[in-house]
Point group: C2
Chain length 398, copies 2
């Protein structure tokens, strides 16, 4: 294995916190392959660029010869973890979770090396704990320790309901560390408290407590909140290149330095150059964002897809043109035609009420001209390209 300082240099770029302070140093000093745990709950179908930050760090451990132990929390996903969202999360059925697990796994595998990889599901050991095992587990931690969690405190203070079940979540996650004998657990910065409970649980079961290593959180496309599937402000690693590029172009300028670092994994020098350039007006934000978009798409889809995605974007937004391959839809016989219903029929909107809202907002254009009424004479639509919002197009055929 590489000398400790070289290993640290390889790992530290995307590390935010290590607990205890010297935990990582001490473990690397043992000169053996470490067991590095990363647990994700498949509660949604996608893998976001936010998760990708943690997976980049996990892969770095693999590259140094350590073992990545990826835990798909198929059992804990059924418990629900509010994670500061301040609402009792809807519980998922085993089938829903399994569907999400399959979908996530297909997206996660390419982010990791195939060697030094163990993939486990926590139903393997949590399902077998049983009533007595659960009681044993709950005897390892005090109520005060669990209620320290800020999210619980805040919700209880606000008289929001917290289910007794949610209190068990951190213990189950901690037991995962016992089951796989983790030396290190990785997580997002907002997971630090959970990782520390894992240390307590390991200690109670006679194991040496893991080092907790967190990665910074990537803000979402809104530039404000943590990227998250439930907030809808995310990019999936499986998004189509055009979609991915378009979403990167939509982030606020202020988020660019963080995105250069945590979404494009640019070198520290490049991140500094962009940040300084933007601060001093020496860098054109539009050009910097295009470069960021190309880097992000190239990372997951390759250079060619990145170039094509940028061209597509230019056609849509820079030149205002419709894409080359606009879908076609045959007009019904009505005259006049009720546009919200037609847009729904053509699949451009999810419901006719969405269609009504978008017409009222001036977001529906026929050949570039905003529509002002819901009823449109038939001949105005025949053969015309209709655009909804920025990116949805259709051509109506008579």
């Amino acid at each position: 294995m590489l000398p400790i300082d070289e290993q640290l240099a390889h790992l530290l770029p995307t590390v935010e916190t290590v607990v205890p302070d010297d935990g990582l140093l001490e473990l690397l000093g043992e000169g053996r392959p470490l067991r590095v745990k990363l647990g994700v709950d498949p509660t949604a179908p996608d893998v976001t660029l936010g998760w990708a930050v943690m997976f980049d760090l996990l892969r770095r451990f693999q590259e140094l010869g350590h073992t990545a132990v990826l835990i798909l929390g198929d059992f804990t996903a059924q418990v629900g973890d509010p994670s500061g969202k301040s609402e009792t999360r809807k519980r998922l059925s085993a089938d829903e979770v399994e569907g999400y697990a399959q979908s996530c796994l297909a997206m996660l595998r390419p982010l990791l090396l195939e060697d030094h990889l163990e993939i486990r599901r926590n139903s393997e050991w949590l399902g077998n704990l049983g009533t007595a095992g659960m009681l044993e587990l709950t005897s390892t931690v005090t109520v005060s320790r669990i209620l320290e969690r800020e999210d619980f405190q805040g919700r209880l203070a606000d008289e929001q309901p917290v289910s007794m079940m949610e209190l068990l979540y951190p213990l189950l996650q901690g037991f995962d560390s016992v089951a796989i004998e983790a030396d290190i657990e990785l997580g997002g910065a907002d997971q630090l408290w959970n990782l520390l409970v894992g240390r307590d649980v390991q200690r109670a079961y006679g194991q040496r407590p893991q080092a907790a290593v967190t990665a910074p959180l990537l803000v979402g496309t809104d530039g404000v909140r943590k990227m998250s599937q439930s907030l809808g402000n995310y990019i999936s690693v499986a998004d189509e290149p055009e979609e991915m590029f378009g979403k990167v172009m939509s982030i606020p300028d202020a988020a660019m330095p963080m995105w250069y670092r945590l979404a494009a994994f640019a070198s520290p020098e490049e991140v500094r150059r962009v940040a300084a350039g933007l601060a001093e007006d020496a860098v054109d934000p539009g050009a910097a964002k295009r470069q960021l978009g190309r880097m992000v798409v190239a990372r997951y889809r390759g250079e060619d897809a990145a170039a094509a995605a940028e061209e597509h974007f230019d056609r849509l937004f820079k030149h205002g043109e419709a894409p080359e391959d606009v879908a076609e839809h045959t007009l019904p016989g009505d005259d006049p035609i009720w546009l919200p219903g037609l847009l729904k029929e053509a699949g451009l909107v999810a419901s006719s009420s969405e269609g009504k809202r978008l017409v009222a907002a001036g977001a529906v254009r026929i050949e570039g001209e905003p529509v002002e009424a819901e009823e449109v004479v038939r001949r105005r639509l025949a053969g015309a390209v209709v655009r909804v919002g920025k990116r949805r197009f259709v051509r109506f055929i008579d």
Copy 2:
């Protein structure tokens, strides 16, 4: 079945609270045999006169044709329920609990009718709940609801440890009500909160919530605190008649009316007569206590045993005589003899330090004379009767 008002008249003498107010009336109105739950955790070997209050009430339901469902909490006994004792109770092994369950059951059966009786152990359903079932169960109740319990609040406020496991106890007990489909649950007055959680749990599982019916708490032989095996202020229904009578004679006069009602189950008229007589100095407290002692012993051991126990008591305390069958113990060769060690050797004290304490307190007598020093010359002990405290005797043989 009897008319409702006659049933109520039979039940109400030892009822303290009913929740909801009209719950009992409504259920009796259905004219069917009700399922009346009483759960006890076998965490100690004895059945106290305190428990007997609840069992008297349960038997009254049986006498009316309702079904007594006695739950031996062999599973919950392993969890530990602090019940206001403000300390994390030591967990018991399955073997210890099974021993206590056997011992309790032998003492409980004679307190109930053999008909209309179901005896169940909650390991039957709780053991099979499994991890997923436990999570399901914990999802039925909020953290705030559980933390309402005064004992938890007090201990958390005092920064005393409360194990996460203890929070599960009321849920498990509540699930017992679901498993046996209880119409009514009986408990001591200090269990009301637990019985109400049972209502919540039943509701969450789609059952009609049970009526909660509590019996008053009997104070212990100290006349102050609830009778309890862990406090040592108790009488067991299996105590020897002499022991039982002697302990009744040791209660404070002020506790007599309550004991007439809840330990001797005297009629309301008799309880009133004794209470009024004591208050007006019209009744001799000693005689009243003797009568109480005879009533209690007679209830569990019959009239003859009660009379013999009273005679035994009189020999010991009234006439100051040693009992007829004093145990004998051969003196060691030392001279002088260290009395605390000798008392320990003879089995009159648990340790020589207890012996030292009792000598210092003047509670050790040789032939009626208090001992003043720990060292005693051998000839003073040879052939003498030594008395420790009020009831422990031995004769030393040379």
